[in-house]
């Protein structure tokens, strides 16, 4: 077992990783920027190290500062959380070169999946369905127009090195494509340091469904069920649930098998997520991308399987078998996660501020993974996630009913929050019926 771990992240995910580390007897080291000194995760770690000023580039993205903190505290391993350097193969290599354990997949797997074009090509060869799209990077608008003509409109334009929906845009025709291409290219250069763009056939009215995989130390790859992430604004997830109400038993079986193939194709170790687009009417799916780290919405899988995914990450990184019997995994019940963001509930614009009141809901089936508490200041430097309100029920109906009560009971004052949006979501007939797709949020909040 690992002796100690440095958690190279902040907020709710740092706190979540620290919780399992401490429960399993691993000494937890937190790192923080000047903006985060008072957050709960810093106090809950066994040790905490300041790594720099608020700007991410000078703190959570500063590999040298993180490595220095690991040396100073004698940490034996590094857990990257999600975002920041979690999918940075160079950082993973630095950790390994320093003789520490990287709590994540092999840097080679991160690299192969981080380039969306390479990943698509690899998946296609492995027998995983992909939509018509680019096999090589598109770097100028004339090439994009030619590529879109070949693929067929509508197309989705995105950064080959990207993630988090940043710079992504759909285009229905050539004029739309030219605009979407310029946006995607400037964002790609700014956020990901690479102007390479890829085009894919855009599937309208699709559901966004992903499969949790776990690559074991002995090389086996398990699929631990799916999560439906179709509730999105700006191509970013707001709510997730498992099982997906839009996936039949037969489709689930095919998706889980494809996700295992995807993991095996890159020799995947640890927790990863294979994201797909599902055409619920046709009962078909295509590979979208693979995230080579713990996913934000991993708690819903934990709630229906009873498996602590962070614990498995630690065990696998140490070369040990998982804490559960892979042959006996039987997901039961239903779980929902609502992302509580510091943003207004109508236009979804950021609303940082100082938290004057923070009262979390409690009760049967309610789990709150929070990054903040009363007295903390939510700053503009990082993403707007305040907390993940997760709810478990014996079935979807019970879980939604518990979620309605929990949303009403969650009290946050100070920053703006999207709790009212979640109340509207849970009251919406489309969501309640389960027959929604990625257009749901725009229907609930028409511009």
């Amino acid at each position: 077992m690992l002796d100690s771990v440095l958690v190279a992240n902040r907020g709710e995910i740092a706190r979540r990783v620290i919780r399992t580390a401490r429960r399993t007897g691993i000494r937890a080291v937190a790192v923080y920027s000047d903006a985060d000194e008072d957050l709960p995760y810093v106090a809950e770690a066994d040790e905490a190290v300041r790594i720099g000023p608020a700007q991410p580039a000078r703190s959570y993205l500063d590999a040298a500062a993180l490595m220095a903190a690991a040396r100073k505290t004698g940490a034996a391993a590094v857990h990257p959380g999600y975002g920041f350097l979690a999918e940075n193969a160079g950082f993973a290599r630095q950790v390994i070169a320093a003789g520490l354990t990287w709590v994540g997949p092999d840097p080679g797997a991160i690299e192969q999946m981080g380039d969306k074009i390479r990943a698509r090509n690899l998946m296609e060869r492995a027998g995983v369905p992909v939509s018509p799209g680019s096999r090589e990077p598109v770097t100028d608008v004339a090439a994009a127009v030619a590529e879109a003509d070949r693929i067929g409109y509508p197309v989705m334009v995105k950064a080959a090195a990207g993630g988090g929906g940043i710079g992504m845009g759909a285009a229905a025709d050539e004029a739309g494509l030219r605009a979407a291409f310029e946006t995607a290219r400037s964002r790609a250069e700014r956020f990901f340091g690479s102007p390479e763009i890829l085009l894919e056939r855009y599937i309208e009215r699709a559901r966004h469904v992903e499969v949790q995989i776990l690559g074991l130390a002995d090389g086996r790859v398990l699929a631990l069920g799916e999560r439906d992430c179709s509730v999105q604004r700006r191509h970013q997830k707001v709510a997730e649930e498992t099982p997906s109400p839009g996936v039949s038993a037969g489709l689930r079986e095919r998706m889980l098998a494809a996700a295992v193939l995807a993991g095996e194709a890159v020799g995947y170790r640890g927790a990863g997520t294979v994201e797909c687009l599902v055409d619920a009417l046709e009962g078909s799916f295509v590979f979208l991308e693979m995230n080579t780290r713990l996913q934000v919405e991993h708690p819903v899988t934990e709630l229906v399987t009873g498996i602590d995914l962070v614990e498995q990450q630690f065990l696998i990184a140490a070369g040990e078998p998982p804490s559960f019997d892979p042959a006996a995994v039987r997901p039961a019940g239903h779980a929902l996660e609502l992302r509580v963001y510091a943003e207004d509930p109508v236009r979804f614009l950021p609303g940082p501020g100082t938290i004057t009141e923070w009262a979390e809901p409690a009760g049967d089936g309610v789990r709150v993974d929070a990054g903040y508490q009363a007295g903390n200041t939510v700053t503009p430097f990082y993403d707007p996630l305040l907390a993940k309100l997760c709810v478990y029920g014996a079935d979807r109906e019970q879980s939604l009913a518990r979620a309605r009560d929990a949303v009403a009971a969650f009290r946050i004052a100070g920053p703006k929050t999207n709790l009212l949006f979640h109340a509207d979501l849970l009251a919406s007939p489309d969501f309640a019926a389960g027959s929604y797709d990625t257009s749901l949020v725009s229907k609930l909040r028409p511009v």
Binding site: E343, L349, P350, P352, P380, F381, D383
Partner: protein, 70 residues
């Protein structure tokens, strides 16, 4: 004289308009960044930018003056 103010705490990512520029209703003056989102600050009517109160890299608080358009 129209005073354009910040709607939220944010970092100034890009100053698009310069002092002396003529702008129309809806033109982008400045692009703010908050919580990994870009928020364009727009002119609310036609006029000339008489004063730009922020520079790239500044942190603005809710209600801070960004630009004066006359």
């Amino acid at each position: 004289m129209a005073e354009v103010r910040a709607e939220m705490v944010a970092n100034v990512w890009k100053v698009v308009a310069a002092e002396g520029d003529h702008v129309d209703d809806g033109d982008t003056l400045v692009i703010l960044e908050s919580m990994k989102m870009e928020i364009p600050v727009l002119a609310e009517g036609p006029g000339v930018v008489t004063k730009m109160h922020v520079a790239e890299g500044d942190v603005v608080q809710e209600g801070d003056l960004i630009a004066s358009v006359g």
